[in-house]
Symmetry: C2
Subunit: 406 residues, 2 copies
Amino acid sequence: MVEINGKRLLSDLHRLRDFGRTGDGVVRTSFSDIDMAAREWLRKRFADAGLAAAIDGVGNVFGTSPNPGPALVLGSHSDTQPRGGWLDGTLGVIYALEIARAFAEDPGTRDLAVDVVAWIDEEGTYTSCLGSQSFVGDLSDEVLEHANDGGETVAQAIARVGLTGVARAALDPGRHVGYLEAHIEQGPYLEELGDQIGVVTSIVGIRSTEVEFIGDQNHAGTTPMNRRRDAGVAMFEFAVRLRERFTAIAGPTTVWTIGQVRLEPGAASIIPGFAAAHVQYRDPEDERLAALEDALAGVAADVAAATGVEARVRRERDPILPCDMDAGFRRHIAAAAERIVPGGWREMPSAAGHDPMVISHHLPCAMVFIPSIGGVSHDFAEDSLEADIVVGCEVMAEAAASILRG
Amino acid sequence: MVEINGKRLLSDLHRLRDFGRTGDGVVRTSFSDIDMAAREWLRKRFADAGLAAAIDGVGNVFGTSPNPGPALVLGSHSDTQPRGGWLDGTLGVIYALEIARAFAEDPGTRDLAVDVVAWIDEEGTYTSCLGSQSFVGDLSDEVLEHANDGGETVAQAIARVGLTGVARAALDPGRHVGYLEAHIEQGPYLEELGDQIGVVTSIVGIRSTEVEFIGDQNHAGTTPMNRRRDAGVAMFEFAVRLRERFTAIAGPTTVWTIGQVRLEPGAASIIPGFAAAHVQYRDPEDERLAALEDALAGVAADVAAATGVEARVRRERDPILPCDMDAGFRRHIAAAAERIVPGGWREMPSAAGHDPMVISHHLPCAMVFIPSIGGVSHDFAEDSLEADIVVGCEVMAEAAASILRG
């Protein structure tokens, strides 16, 4: 069994947390100064572990094992949400580093090839899963023009941090046989059920629909109620009816959220002539996502008919399809988990998106989850038990060794 | 009967429209360069009419008749909404100018004293009814610190346009016996009923309540629906239930509007932990406004109980009370209207706020409305028929002469 150094693992996790630490959380969005400083620290740490390490031309930190393939790529992302938790992404990066070190220290695993990566912008400050898109060769010129809220494009960010023209780490089909990522669950299931390890079966599909309502902008004092075509009123009605309709269609793990709304002109004394709501919904089954999308359009049409306000439904052109994790890898992980925490693991879908959504179309992927305290994530309060953190790394190391041994 | 020069009236209205004209509308917010240029043009125009004219220390253009009192103050505001119509405010200012000129040209009215004013910032770019607050002596240091959306305070704006230390026009109790203002109706009633003149009975009271919902911010993928405390869901439910409750309580002219909402953090993949809605409601009766305010708090509490999301209701400390127009002045206006458009006028409340809300606590006030085409206002499309514009000025002139003759 591979010997993980739990103290070293936790120490590195805490050291990485210091880059952008804010209260208990971390603010380290991709391409920020503090993100790049963290990446330089990671690069050195990868090099100290004996890997050939570099920050690549898109900002990924990639450390290549000196051993010949077959190699597993292990890692996660080191950028955070605008108000992020300390383990989201970070956990999988430091696991990978620790596993590379542990393999090198153990005569039984010394010859195994583990390449370690810290992807950039999984969180989509500019564009989701930027680093893994680059790795698999999906990075189009169009994606390089995606901008952050400040209007800076990916290409401009790359130039600003001095990476223009630097080579990008790329999937090597002659070397790479798979990608493994560990992550906090970000939900409550493992904790609630008393399990320490989640073996991810699939990553849910995500669809987003923007619904716009076009009414009449007018004076909020002088326009009688019965003459109004208030776009805001239509949007509120839509949101409440959508909840009822989606509840009726939902499967056991369906979720949906209206996270963004807009009223225009957005003044206290003016009846909104325009309103928009962004609806995001997730499910492991694409058929159910399609049914939800149709139901949403139906609710919008019903509300338009009831309120006299025009509704426009902007369906997403490229929804994120549900994607399955590699069945063989899953068996290795399950076996490792059963050895280390007998009966204390379960299979589960991932309700959050991760880089394997991109990578799995090019390379077999699998993921390991550890419990999130209270299910909290994308929040400064995000945390996991130290014992769970160490056990997760042990399972991941065992699984990686077992996969590479074939 | 006072002879109004309709051609001169319309010509000056169109000339003033040119300051900030944008399409059919006008962008001339208070203290902007174009607003100050318009004020300088008005000052000259007032002086040409034989008035002692100056831009005062808060930006009001005030023209004092050379005649001794008793004097009526006539006018309105010359600033506009961020996307304003061409007659809102402007109409009453040019009416006042034209009436001063017409009185001076007619031997029968030559001795009557009419002081003419173009108030500043009635629209509240910095603070509502700024100019009239200054005129009646209500301008506190606190109000001078009110800021526009760009963070500039009233005091800073006054300094920027070079008016610091300049004297402010002030109500002279020994001279001023009342204030008259003409305005477009901004609503559909006169046009619908085929009337040309509205004699304003009162200005409705306005209350605003900010309702905040505090739930749990969390990941929009990994948090199951039954574990969410989504502040946005609570806000949508509140908006729909409020509509039902208010409809049950509303009087014949009650209106209410949710013109501003906020979800935080406002990201597609994050469950909103905070939501806020700004509710504004208007009625001629303060008792009804109080009942609406209580009902609103009740709905918020019901929604909090139903959703598990905390609700906070921030009642306004200084709501705008309904205010009555002077009964004597109203009789003069009604008599003038009946002479000029027999049967073609009606009494009506004003559903919009105007400077008389401030002035009427210090000086008797009255208002004359003319029809708005389609009831449209606070919009570039705002307009009125030329025939209605001229008739309104004739009624106003007759009423002013009749009031001053006593």
